[in-house]
Every structure is written in C-alpha cells, then in structure tokens.
C-alpha cells in the first residue's frame, strides 16, 4: 500500500496575531511553524497504514525552502519519503496549489508507481480554503471524501466515516486508489522518538523548483482556454489575496470576582444571577 500525505507549513500562532508591515502576511519573527492538526493526523494515518499493510509512505508540501522542517517532522514519526515543491515565497492560491500538487503526483506515480491513497487535511490551518484535496482528486479522476475521522482499508476499499449532522457517523466506501480529507480526531498522533528524529535528519528530500509566481509556473490565468471538465488544467486561478486584517477587538478585561477557594460564594452568586442555578 503506497500512501501520500500532503501538508502545509503554517505559522504557529497562539496569542493575538501581529501582521507584517505590508499587511499581507503574519509577522513570524517570534513564531515557530507547524502544520494543521488535521494534517498531523493524516501523517499518523499514513504511517499506520504502511505499518499494517506494508508499502511506502510519502509526504509532500508546496512551500518555501524552510518547509523542509515540516517534512522532516513527518519523517521523524515514520514517513519514508519527502517531496518539496519549492516556491520562492509569496502565497499560492488554492487553484494553482492543487494544479501543482496534481502534476507532482503524476510525475511521482510515473516514476515510482501509483499511490493507493492520498491524504489531505480537511482544510488548511491558515487559509481554510476547503478545496485543494478535492481539486487534486478531480484532476486525477479519483474518488474523494472530506471530513474523515475513521478509516479502515480492506480488499482494495477505503471504509471511511465522518460525523453525521444529527449525531452518529456517516459511512463511505471508496475503491482504491482514492483521496481522503481528514480531520483531527482520526487518531492520536504519536510523538517523534529521538532515533526517529536523527534518522529524519539524514534523509534525502526530493526538491522540485516551482519558482515564485503560480501563474508563471503553471501557465494558468486569464486568457487560458476554458477549463476542461474533470481536469484542473486551464482553470481560472483565485481567489487572490489583497491584504489581511485583524477582526475588531472584542476585549473586555475580565472582572476578578475573587481569589482561590474563598471565591466560591461569589461564583455561586454569579451563577444565581445568570439564572444557571436556582
């Protein structure tokens, strides 16, 4: 079973975000980087599938040279191979991102054989575009389902489940090769071991230079022929980010109603006042 998982390097924000002076990115001078929790579960799942069924796991990202860190993190918990589609900074819109990933998958498969399963996060942590995995699947002509929180593979079929609106689980059966978008909760990712980290450090990363501009790299954009149904080729790119801003502040500054256990009567008074106890 060959499995590919696609991850995106994003800043590890926690406190209130600060924007860079040009207002087009987050100020990351004091931040680390990570991937979405959804994608962490995707990485863990890829490792588990190969542990259970044999085969080879790979991780792919489209991003700057520094995204190598996220690829090594994935290899540290057991991913076998890593592919970096290297950009020279700047944002790639989801249409261009999906087209580049789909093309890279085709190149990989021609050289190394098909991926039985390609795993995406349900949505990227930063842009939350909800579409890259689906676009790639459509371009490759493979079945795809998003929102997956449970997966078993038997006899060439991916049995997947996702939360149903009114509680409970919807089940899906997709013949392999297939694409799935996963959500956190799919599994509990392991922590990398020290030997795992050391091994990951020494591993080769395959690099593909994409250049700076998605439109230039892919020949996408206005004036291109209308899209061909079922392929990502010739698609109109977008949306195009113009700028970022912070939502209006809703700061309240909490009223301190007490300290330590002595605060209990004041808390219960508050609960009474809010009508939450009688």
């Amino acid at each position: 079973m060959n499995v590919l998982v696609c991850v995106k390097r994003v800043p590890q924000t926690g406190g209130r975000m600060v924007l860079a002076p040009d207002g087009r990115s987050i100020d990351t001078r004091f931040l680390g980087f990570t991937i979405s929790p959804h994608e962490e579960c995707g990485v863990e799942e890829a490792v588990r599938v190969v542990e259970a069924h044999g085969g080879m796991s790979a991780v792919l990202t489209l991003g700057p040279a520094e995204a190598e860190d996220q690829l090594r993190d994935a290899m540290a918990i057991g991913i076998d191979r890593a592919i970096l589609l290297e950009t020279s900074g700047g944002e790639w819109d989801p249409v261009s991102t999906a087209a580049a990933i789909a093309e890279a998958i085709q190149v990989q498969e021609a050289a190394n054989g098909a991926f039985d399963l390609v795993i995406f996060g349900n949505e990227a942590a930063d842009t939350g575009d909800y579409q890259v995995g689906i676009r790639v699947a459509v371009a490759l002509g493979r079945p795809v389902i998003n929102g997956i929180k449970g997966l078993t593979l038997t006899d060439g079929v991916a049995h997947a489940r996702r939360e149903a609106g009114g509680g409970g689980w919807e089940t899906y059966a997709l013949p392999l090769p297939a694409v799935i978008g996963v959500k956190e909760g799919l599994n509990l990712p392991r922590y990398p071991s020290v030997p795992g980290r050391l091994r990951a450090k020494r591993k080769e990363i395959e690099r593909v230079a994409l250049g700076g501009s998605p439109a230039g790299a892919l020949g996408l954009g206005a004036g291109e022929d209308a899209a061909v149904e079922g392929t990502g080729v010739g698609a109109v790119p977008g949306p195009t980010m113009v700028g970022l801003r912070l939502p209006a502040e809703e700061r309240t500054a909490a009223t301190v109603i007490g300290h330590g256990a002595d605060a209990a009567p004041a808390v219960v008074d508050l609960l009474l006042q809010l009508g939450l106890v009688h």
């Binding site: 079945p143 689980w169 113009v242 909490a254 106890v277």
Partner: protein, 336 residues
C-alpha cells in the same frame, strides 16, 4: 475573462433534511439578498435537491428568492458530493447564474469545491461580506475567523461559501408572502455520480448532555494536570447540568477524547456560560468558545490571555477553586 456580476441571477444552494431547510442555508439566503440588491436587476434563485425539495422550497416564504430550481431525483436524498455538485452545476447553467452561494457547512463547502473543480472555477470559502463591482472584493475568514482576508475574485461565475454565523439567518416561513415558485427539472445525473455516497449511518457512542447543546460548559486545559484531574470538572458540570470540554493540549495528551475538544480543529460551542479552567486562551481555542454568552476564567495567572476574553475571573489554583464551588453549590442546595 468575462466580468460576471451585474444583472445575472444569484443562485443559492439550499440544503434540506426531511423537508426542513438547515440554518446555514438560511444564512446563505440572508447573505445573498443584499448582494442581489447591489447588482442592479439581479435576482436570487435557489436550488434544492431530493424528493422533499419542492416541499422545503414551499416553506421559504419571504426568502427573497424569485425561483426554486428543484431536482426531485430521490437518489439525491442520500448525500453524494459529486451528484450534488452535478445537480448544482446543472441548475447554475439553467439559470445562467453569475454567482453561486453555498452554506459554510461541511457539505456546502465540499459540494461547492467539487463544482469549482469540475468547471475550472475559483472558489472562496467562508466569506463574510462582498463588495460587488466589476472586479469583486470580498472579505473571508482565515484561521477559523481569527484573521480576515481581503481578496479579489474574478471569474465568469463566482463561487462563494458563507462563513457560519457571520450573518443572521432569514426567518424561514415567517412571512405572509407566497411560497417560492418551484420549477422541477432533470439534472441528467449519471450512476457514476453516485459512486461516493453515504452508505450507512452508525450510531454515536457519545452519551450525556452534548457539548454543543449544554447551557454550561466546564472546559479544562493543561492546568488540570492529569486525566484524573477532570473528575472535579465532571463533578461541577454534573451539579450545573452541563458538559465537560477541553483544550487541544488535553486531547493531545489523551486526558480527554478528541470529541471533547473546543476550538479551530474541534467544536464550536455557544453555551450561556463557559467556565475555562486552566486554559491560557490561545486564539485557536477562543474561536471555539467566543460565542458563549459569558466566560468565567479560573487561572493561576492573572496575565493569561484568557483574561482579556473572559467576562469574569477567579485567580487561583483550579484544584482548590473548582471543588470549593461544587461544595458551595451543595451547601446552598442543602440549605434551601
């Protein structure tokens, strides 16, 4: 590239279950109305799928919609993203829509992404507002709403999903106006469009008060210290008829199941009161609980970021504060 916009219809994808239109679709209708008003002569049309579709369109009085495109194919009663997208695309062609608006639900986003991929169109997810002009400017959410993006969207047909709870829903069926006129049509769906579909429903293993319905949620973070430490939160939640949730730290550590996680990659809750115990208030946690009417923080650190989001705070060790609150509740219940 043709600049879509003025005049052409705005098509809203309306989800219904058993004839009842879901809330996020009502929000999508509310989002579409001013958009149509701003584009001179544009009207709102809707598309509804499945055997209950015509009935559900009938409940939408005063929705602002002029027409409902109905695909009454019973195969669409079961969720099948490709088939739903094909039907939506057929309605889009039929109406010559220049904008398609979908609800910001799992299904809404997924179906719209399939349509976008099939047609080679861009799609903007979780849009908050739009300034329609020849070249569209829109505002959309990033980081689950912790950050806003101004974006341009230029395409022959513009596809947008609406950020959940960014606009108030229209009041379905409240008005005295006539129901929307329903036009049934055949979307020419193929069997292969149904290859990926819901094959069955499994019961959930969860029980008790659900986190999304609870009036009081007691949330625990790293400050709770251990899985066993959640016993005191359970006790307090039990006394208040509430539910227990947590931060990502506690689900990653295995102290709680992921289904208890509140935040960007967990649940969005909106209780009357959220009691955040030993939670620092990272933005990814806050996006999950900021819809709470009130927030009470219990934290040893008076400078913790949660203090600028909470309405009330108790400064102190939750291991002392939480049991004391439970004891006080019991004492007063006994005295009453």
């Amino acid at each position: 590239m043709a600049a879509g916009g003025a005049g052409g219809p705005i098509l809203v994808f309306v989800e219904q279950v058993g004839g009842e239109v879901d809330r996020l679709s009502l929000e999508a209708l509310a989002f579409a109305a001013p958009l149509a008003a701003a584009a001179a002569g544009a009207r709102v049309e809707i598309v509804v799928l499945g055997s209950e579709a015509a009935a559900s369109a009938g409940t939408l009085r005063d929705s602002g919609a002029a027409l409902a495109h109905v695909v009454a194919d019973a195969r669409l009663d079961t969720y099948a993203p490709v088939a739903w997208a094909a039907a939506l695309g057929a309605a889009m062609d039929r109406s010559s829509a220049v904008v398609v608006v979908a609800p910001g639900s799992d299904r809404g986003n997924e179906v719209l992404a399939h349509l976008a991929a099939r047609r080679g169109l861009p799609m903007a997810a979780h849009v908050v507002s739009v300034a329609p002009a020849a070249s569209w400017r829109l505002v959309r959410q990033r980081w689950a709403g912790s950050l806003l993006e101004d974006a341009a969207l230029d395409a022959p047909v513009r596809l947008v999903s609406v950020a959940p709870h960014a606009v108030a829903p229209i009041e379905a069926g409240a008005g005295a106006g006539p129901p929307v006129e329903a036009q049934l049509f055949d979307a020419d769906l193929h069997d292969a469009d149904f290859d990926v579909r819901v094959g069955g429903i499994e019961a959930s293993e969860a029980d008790g008060v659900s986190l999304t319905d609870a009036k009081v949620v007691v949330g625990g973070g790293r400050g709770v210290g251990s899985a066993a430490g959640f016993g005191q939160l359970e006790e307090l939640a039990g006394l208040l008829g509430g539910a227990v949730g947590g931060s990502r730290v506690v689900t990653s550590l295995g102290w709680r199941p992921h289904s208890d996680q509140i935040g960007q990659t967990g649940l969005r809750i909106a209780p009357d009161l959220y009691i955040a115990c030993g939670i620092s208030g990272a933005i990814q946690h806050i996006v999950g609980c900021k819809a709470a009417k009130r927030i009470l923080a219990i934290n040893t650190d008076p400078d913790s970021p949660i203090m600028s989001v909470a309405d009330y705070a108790v400064i102190g060790d939750l291991g002392a504060v939480v049991p004391a609150i439970s004891a006080e509740l019991r004492r007063r219940a006994g005295a009453a």
